[in-house]
């Protein structure tokens, strides 16, 4: 937690200047307030501590005990999730000198990221079982989840920079975890180069905004940024592009299909899900902090339209299911941007955004889970007749794809309904129409996978990986159905969720 660490160091600084008993009293007071503030970040502390424990275990435990590393990682993630869930009851507030939020949006984002991470741990168990370096993998995975979580809670530009870098750096490593695979190397190099480019831009953008506002917190930006200023526009654009990279939005989306295809399949499930959640939440916070004179909505609208259209058109004739999933993930980002667009104009914008993220992450991890469980089989032709021998997996794939299309009563349907509604409500009916046309187009490629799975024939049931991956996949697919049916539970909770700086 470097950002938090910096903040606490600053608050301790007076200790050195003053002397005597007053200092001791003040120090105790400072310590007490630090302690109080740290209760706001218990899940983050648990994740950081747990990741370190997993790392130390991986380094020192003998090889035959390495298989306990995923258990440690899972316990860490579960504990963080429990602490996060407990925080839902408390009041929404900013903490650590307004650099970090404990609001509903951040906590729900945490829960979504942690659910995805827990499922990915399950997917990874059989996938990495024979890998000698599997212990470190789980440490890296938990650190990456921490990065996404911190990103969702950040309300400060410096905090944003640090969490983005944490999430990206671990992502690069995870993507290239199969060192001998040239596909993985190519994918992660692409991911790294685009990431480095956009992260460099991000630093410049942050510097601009910081300089113009005189403050790096989002509430400071809201008050301090000049109304009509080219520098603000340029700085904001650079930061938005960096976020677009994390989300896989145009113009820096190109890594997503490569990662989906080339990275280890469980990692692909993670990287196309978790960082997206954090990036979406921070993007929402950032646009709300921009001055009213700066009309950011047209920019987001164009990005949304381009992202969903490009993603869908590119997915159309893919004969590689993992690559198809990657492009589908790009197009889904486009739909999600509808909610960002409606922030401040439609009442349901925040619930729509959170529900979309939930539905997307569950469906995405379920779809990649099927690929993992099928030992990473990726050729479209190899999915023919899947339903005959592997009915449950075909079912999970179908549920996930139908949810992406938006077929009721699955989670994706409620998400799309809410997205369309807020877009129309915000005065962007044309974009809702574009989204609808895109949805129709997307049916083609989803059905290209589903139809042969049911209507085709196969010689014998496809070989599968192991029951942990199957269990995680089924849990995610089941969640897609349950969240859709029990949409009210989540929508009501999301409707109460605050999103600073609103």
């Amino acid at each position: 937690m470097p950002g938090v660490g910096a903040a606490s160091l600053l608050s301790l600084a007076p200790l050195w200047r003053d002397g005597g008993a007053r200092v001791a009293a003040q120090g105790a007071q400072q310590g007490a307030s630090l302690l109080r503030m740290s209760t706001d970040i218990v899940p983050e502390i648990v994740l950081a501590g747990g990741a370190i424990v997993v790392l130390l275990y991986a380094v020192f435990a003998p090889r035959r005990w390495q298989e306990a590393a995923p258990v440690l990682a899972f316990v860490t993630v579960a504990a963080a999730a429990v602490f996060s869930a407990c925080m839902l009851r408390g009041p929404a507030s900013l903490t650590f000198s307004e650099t970090y939020a404990r609001d509903g949006a951040a906590i729900w984002a945490k829960l979504i990221v942690l659910a995805a991470t827990a499922a990915v741990v399950g997917l990874s168990v059989p996938w990495f079982r024979t890998d000698a370096r599997q212990g470190e993998y789980y440490a890296m995975l938990v650190f990456s989840a921490l990065g996404a979580v911190l990103l969702a809670g950040a309300t400060d530009l410096k905090q944003f920079v640090i969490s983005t870098l944490l999430s990206s750096t671990t992502g690069f490593v995870l993507a290239a975890y199969h060192r001998r695979s040239s596909m993985a190397a190519e994918a992660s190099i692409k991911y790294y180069l685009l990431g480095a480019l956009t992260n460099a831009g991000m630093l410049i953008g942050v510097a601009y905004l910081f300089g113009l506002a005189g403050s790096s917190t989002l509430s400071g930006l809201k008050q301090g940024l000049p109304e009509d200023n080219l520098g603000v526009a340029a700085g904001a654009a650079l930061v938005i592009v960096a976020l677009a990279f994390k989300m896989g939005a145009v113009p820096v989306h190109a890594w997503m299909p490569d990662i989906a295809q080339g990275a280890p399949a469980p990692v692909a499930a993670f990287i196309t899900s978790a960082p997206k959640v954090g990036a979406f939440i921070f993007l929402a916070r950032l646009v709300l902090a921009l001055p009213d004179g700066l009309d950011w909505r047209p920019l987001i609208a164009v990005l949304a339209a381009l992202t969903m259209t490009l993603g869908n058109l590119s997915a159309l004739w893919q004969d590689d299911v993992r690559r198809l999933l990657g492009w589908s993930a790009v197009s889904q980002t486009g739909y999600g941007l509808l909610a960002v667009l409606a922030l401040g104009r439609a009442q349901l914008a925040v619930p729509a955004l959170l529900f979309f993220l939930l539905a997307y992450v569950l469906g995405n991890v379920a779809a990649f889970g099927v690929v993992v469980e099928l030992r990473g089989r990726t050729a479209l032709a190899a999915y023919g007749g899947l339903a005959r021998g592997r009915g449950w997996l075909a079912g999970a794939l179908t549920v996930s794809f139908l949810s992406f299309i938006g077929v009721p009563p699955l989670a994706g349907f409620v998400a799309k309904l809410a997205l369309f509604a807020v877009a129309i409500d915000a005065g962007y009916t044309w974009l809702a129409v574009v989204a609808v046309i895109n949805t129709v187009v997307s049916i083609f490629y989803y059905v290209r996978v589903i139809a042969p799975a049911y209507f085709g024939e196969s010689e014998r049931p496809a070989p599968v990986l192991g029951h942990w991956a199957g269990l995680a996949t089924m849990a995610m697919a089941l969640a897609v159905v349950v969240v859709g049916l029990a949409a009210q539970v989540f929508l009501a909770a999301f409707a109460d969720a605050r999103l600073f700086p609103m």
Partner: protein, 532 residues
């Protein structure tokens, strides 16, 4: 009671879906799909001329047991709906309403009920499903999933007609598409996967237009709600402003594709031809009605002012559908395509009746309510008649493995039962007095003549052409000399006879004694038209 009618088949469907996993896996090699060759060489099969032709295999005992069980489950909603008829009071409003909060944040609730429009339709739907499920079909070794899909479709279709909440309506609308997609794709013949995809893409595009329109209506309502009764009371959008017209367009597209109206009908012929016969019966008997039902339930009831403004163009489209459907059907040599195009023609009658009923004229309320009643009767009648015709086409395919009518001839000599039911169904479809189709069409045209004579007169031509094409169909199939190769042509089995006989019994029954049905529909149509 209504809720039970919706969810009994859906829950049973889950059980059926789980069944084959345990029972059918060992040593179950599915028979190769015997694809129908669309253009067989008439002389090619001569060698097997006198051999007794194979009937659809009755299936293993286990499959027959599953079919019997599925038929029994399918009968439960019908029984419940009959009970609902007995308790129906004809008050003109929604009755027997059941409500359950579902997503209050969005103003969504689970709400079902019946009125004079939905009750007859839902009952017809339940009946057509029993017939379709009980009809023999090549199961291709997947009996469990076939009956599961059928029962699932029955539940969602009945749910669609009983839903009193737009959100719920849309949920059932989309689920019916998904169910039908798998039914066509997995048990169809010919280029089934492609036809299924075409069906899915077309109707799903329509349903997304519908979704946008529903959202448009929802956002205009105050307080925001998806409750149909409230929306009908609120009339959130009136007039012909851009917003109202766009919402109208969205609904129109959704329903016109599903109905289908020309020029949105191109998905229908391939879907019908390649679907298995029971699925065709459901597609024509049930799914098409969803479109026409939407025209009445949503467009006419919730936006009457806008509807009145666009009623004439809609009526023109309906007349075009009537003529186009009839003419194209006349030109068909493929039995199933012919029946499919007569569906386009018949849906034209329905929409003509609805358009006339919604036209903004004063002093013609009686004629308008007559047309609306006729349109609803036509929906019921078409469901039964065309359902029966499609099932018959399935029997013909199973015996002769082609739909080409020119290959047959003189079958009356060999297959008396088949000839009898086909003649009744065909005459009912062309509107012979004493059968259900007549009751519907006489009212539609009587009403239309009172309100808009030109549309009615041009539309009447359609009836003429339909009569010609059905007589030609009967002639080609059953009259003339019997070709040598059909000497072993088997007649209908008992199972087929019973199912078709039951369907045609109701066709005759509605034709002879329509009073109770008309009373119930009138309870909806009369006050409804008067209010506009």
């Amino acid at each position: 009671m209504l809720t039970a009618a919706i969810f009994t088949p859906i829950i049973a469907a889950v059980l059926f879906a789980l069944w084959p996993l345990r029972r059918q896996q060992p040593a179950m090699t599915p028979p190769p799909p015997d694809d129908a060759d669309p253009t067989p060489d008439p002389g090619a099969e001569a060698p097997m001329a006198t051999a007794e032709r194979a009937l659809p295999t009755p299936g293993r005992p286990e499959e027959q047991l599953l079919q019997a069980a599925a038929t029994l489950v399918a009968a439960v909603p019908l029984a419940l709906l009959v009970a609902s008829w007995i308790g129906f009071d004809s008050t003109g409003g929604f009755e027997q309403v059941q409500t359950l909060t579902w997503i209050p944040t969005l103003g969504v609730s689970y709400r079902v009920g019946v009125d004079g429009l939905s009750l007859p339709l839902a009952t017809m739907v339940a009946f057509v499903f029993i017939a379709a499920i009980a009809y023999p079909v090549d199961l291709r070794g997947r009996a469990g999933s076939y009956f599961a899909l059928m029962l699932f479709l029955e539940g969602v279709s009945i749910g669609l007609f009983l839903a009193l909440d737009l959100f719920l309506f849309f949920v059932f609308w989309d689920l019916s598409l998904v169910g039908m997609y798998f039914l066509i794709g997995a048990w169809g013949h010919g280029d089934a996967a492609r036809s299924a995809l075409k069906f899915f893409i077309y109707t799903f595009s329509g349903s997304l237009a519908l979704l946008l329109a529903i959202l448009g209506l929802y956002l205009a309502s105050d307080p925001r709600t998806f409750d149909m009764a409230q929306l009908i009371r609120q009339q959130p959008l009136s007039g012909t402003g851009v917003y109202a017209s766009l919402v109208f367009l969205g609904f129109f597209l959704g329903f016109a594709i599903k109905t289908p109206l020309v020029p949105f009908h191109t998905w229908l012929p391939p879907a019908h031809v390649d679907a298995p016969a029971p699925a065709s019966a459901i597609l024509a008997g049930v799914l098409l009605k969803m479109g026409t039902y939407g025209f009445v339930r949503i467009l006419l009831a919730m936006m009457p002012e806008t509807f009145g403004h666009y009623a004439i163009p809609l009526g023109v489209l309906a007349v075009i559908s009537i003529l186009y459907g009839a003419l194209v059907a006349l030109a068909q040599s493929n039995l199933k395509r012919l029946i499919a195009y007569t569906s386009v023609n018949h849906m034209g009658y329905v929409i003509l009746g609805v358009a006339v009923a919604g036209l903004a004229v004063s002093g013609e309320a009686k004629a308008q309510s007559l047309a609306l009643t006729g349109a609803v009767v036509e929906m019921v009648a078409h469901g039964l008649i065309t359902g029966a015709l499609f099932l018959i086409s399935g029997s013909v395919l199973a015996r002769g493995s082609t739909y080409e009518m020119d290959v047959y001839g003189g079958l009356a000599e060999r297959a008396r039962m088949l000839t009898g039911v086909t003649v009744v169904a065909a005459f009912a479809s062309l509107g012979l007095p004493g059968l259900a189709g007549f009751v519907a069409e006489i009212q539609i045209f009587a009403g239309a003549l009172g309100v808009s004579p030109p549309l009615a007169i041009i539309g009447l031509l359609g009836i003429l052409i339909t009569a010609a094409l059905f007589l030609r169909m009967l002639q080609r199939l059953f009259l003339g000399p019997l070709p040598v190769r059909w000497r072993g042509f088997p007649d209908l089995t008992l199972q087929e006879t019973v199912v078709l006989g039951a369907m045609l019994f109701f066709v005759v029954f509605i034709g002879v004694a329509p009073a109770r049905l008309l009373d119930v529909i009138d309870s909806f149509a009369r006050p409804f038209v008067g209010r506009i």
